[in-house]
């Protein structure tokens, strides 16, 4: 790299000149900003088996082999200007994931960003959420059920819950309910929703789900465990009050001695 007749010392003093350091600093800041500015989109639907988003973004080589492998042309690489440039995702309203049993997109991934040998039922591309109860036909008392029937895991990922219909007094609401332990986020429901804007949408899990604090214990679920673990003798001995009382009495005695003349 050093030109002819340039000693190692001269080379390094050349490299660490103020102008070069300023250039590297400015260039680095602009570069970092360009990368940060196109970080993960808020609403993203990654291919099946995608690792947690930070790991996915770090390892995905943006090669598009998953895109090529998908027989339904579900996946697309984000173009420049879209968030997550070059990374694959899909738009269920356009083309949902058809949950191929052999998961060709995962098999094609060279980088392990899509965890190898993911079974399609274990995929978590997102979570379907019935986000608009005001417009969902089922909540108006109509028999729609389209999302329920479109779901590849019908009855598992989406169940119908029957509720009494008070307006007529003799019908029932058929309410679609999503089970997070079965829903793969394939987006068939969002794709099939008959509304102009889907009332049910696949959302990233951190948008869709809350997280319970670890301090919560529900008595109706954990009562037997709590009563087994709980042993009053662990915390307080039955005669412990006596220790304290005698200490207090001693202290009071000392107080009296010093105050009486």
């Amino acid at each position: 790299m050093s030109g002819p007749g340039l000693s190692r010392r001269e080379f390094f003093t050349n490299v660490f000149r103020g102008r070069n350091l300023a250039l590297a600093g400015t260039g680095g800041a602009v570069w970092a900003q360009l990368v940060e500015g196109q970080r993960s989109p808020i609403l993203r639907r990654r291919p099946p088996g995608a690792r947690a988003e930070p790991d996915f973004l770090a390892t995905c080589t943006k090669c598009g082999q998953c895109v090529e492998a998908c027989p339904y042309d579900t996946l697309e690489l984000a173009t420049f200007g879209e968030d997550g440039t070059g990374t694959p995702s899909f738009e269920p309203r356009k083309v949902p994931c058809h949950m191929c049993p052999d998961v060709p997109c995962v098999a094609a991934c060279p980088s392990g960003s899509l965890v190898p040998e993911t079974a399609i039922e274990d995929a978590r591309m997102g979570l379907a959420v019935l986000s608009d109860q005001e417009n969902c036909l089922a909540f108006k008392g109509l028999r729609c059920e389209v999302c329920y029937r479109a779901c590849p895991l019908m009855g598992k990922a989406i169940e119908l819950e029957f509720r009494p219909q008070e307006r007529t007094g003799k019908h029932a609401f058929f309410i679609p309910v999503v089970n997070s332990d079965a829903c793969t986020g394939c987006g068939m429901c969002e794709h099939s929703c008959v509304l102009e804007q889907a009332a049910i949408k696949v959302l990233p899990h951190e948008l869709a789900q809350g997280r319970l604090g670890s301090n919560y214990r529900f008595g109706w679920e954990e009562d037997p465990v709590i009563s087994k673990d709980f042993d009053p003798s662990d915390s307080v001995r039955p005669d412990a009050w006596q220790d304290n009382t005698s200490k207090v009495l001693e202290a009071l005695d000392g107080l009296e001695e010093t105050t009486t003349p």
Partner: protein, 275 residues
């Protein structure tokens, strides 16, 4: 016909660049499995993996492990370019090369003034910066802004704003920095230049034929590699920044240049073929 003969390597390079792009495009759009993926990672005939070694280094810099597939692919690519001359990638494969060459043509015609001075060595700084930023940001930093990746991906998988890199690079190269992207900025070119320092295939130089006319220096996109004092001593273009584009071979009226194996390796070469 004589034009084609005089530009035979240029024609071959354009065919190579277009052919590779076409094979990738056929893979992505027509599901023909000769070459699937893109320059970042791909498979030949859906089996043999290839990977960009600089991208693999950036992933490692983020602290994430790379798979054996990516490792094998990166080693294969690195070994391949060690054999054919590191920056052969730049002039025979990279889709930005025709853009940069167009920029050089425009620049030669209009000769705009007021160029930013930036050393050609700056690229090595940017190459290191790419690895450092990968470590800090937790993603392969160059892959997120690479005009090569954007242009290449969007030609293959569908066009978007990434095609804007064509006017950007033209404007940069013509008005701001001479041969700026490929010559001073590109970290991937810098990485391949390091491989090129020791690569096998190089333009050999027959000092006794040269009359110092300087045609080669004028046509070379990296003229600093044609340093006659060094060429006389070494007998070949040793610098890794040479892209093996062969313009010097074509342009020389006295046939002073020709492709050959780097002298230090010729002994090794015969030894391996004999064993």
């Amino acid at each position: 016909m004589s034009w084609i003969l005089a530009h035979r390597y240029l024609v071959l390079r354009r065919l190579s660049q277009a052919g590779i792009l076409l094979l990738f495009w056929l893979g992505a759009q027509m599901h023909m499995g000769w070459l699937t993926g893109n320059l970042s990672s791909s498979r030949v005939l859906r089996t043999l993996p290839l990977s960009d070694p600089y991208a693999a280094l950036q992933v490692l810099a983020t602290g994430h492990p790379i798979t054996s597939t990516v490792l094998l692919g990166a080693v294969l690519v690195a070994v391949f370019y060690w054999m054919v001359g590191g920056r052969s990638f730049c002039s025979w494969v990279c889709p930005v090369n025709p853009v940069a060459d167009l920029g050089r043509v425009i620049k030669r015609r209009f000769r705009p003034q007021g160029q930013l001075p930036l050393e050609r060595q700056a690229r090595y700084g940017f190459m290191l910066l790419g690895l450092v930023l990968s470590g800090i940001l937790g993603v392969a930093a160059f892959e997120w802004i690479s005009p090569i990746g954007m242009l290449h991906r969007e030609v293959i998988f569908g066009a978007g704003l990434g095609l804007l890199v064509i006017p950007w690079i033209l404007l940069l190269d013509v008005f701001v920095l001479r041969h700026g992207w490929c010559g001073s900025l590109c970290p991937l070119g810098a990485f391949y230049a390091l491989i090129g320092q020791i690569s096998l295939l190089r333009p050999a130089f027959a000092a006794e034929r040269c009359d110092r006319c300087g045609d080669c220096v004028r046509v070379c996109p990296e003229p600093q590699v044609l340093h006659f004092d060094r060429l006389d001593v070494m007998g070949f273009v040793g610098a890794g920044e040479c892209t093996n584009c062969a313009r010097c071979i074509e342009v020389c009226t006295r046939d002073a240049f020709s492709f050959d194996v780097r002298p230090g390796y010729s002994g090794v070469e015969t030894a391996t073929t004999e064993s």
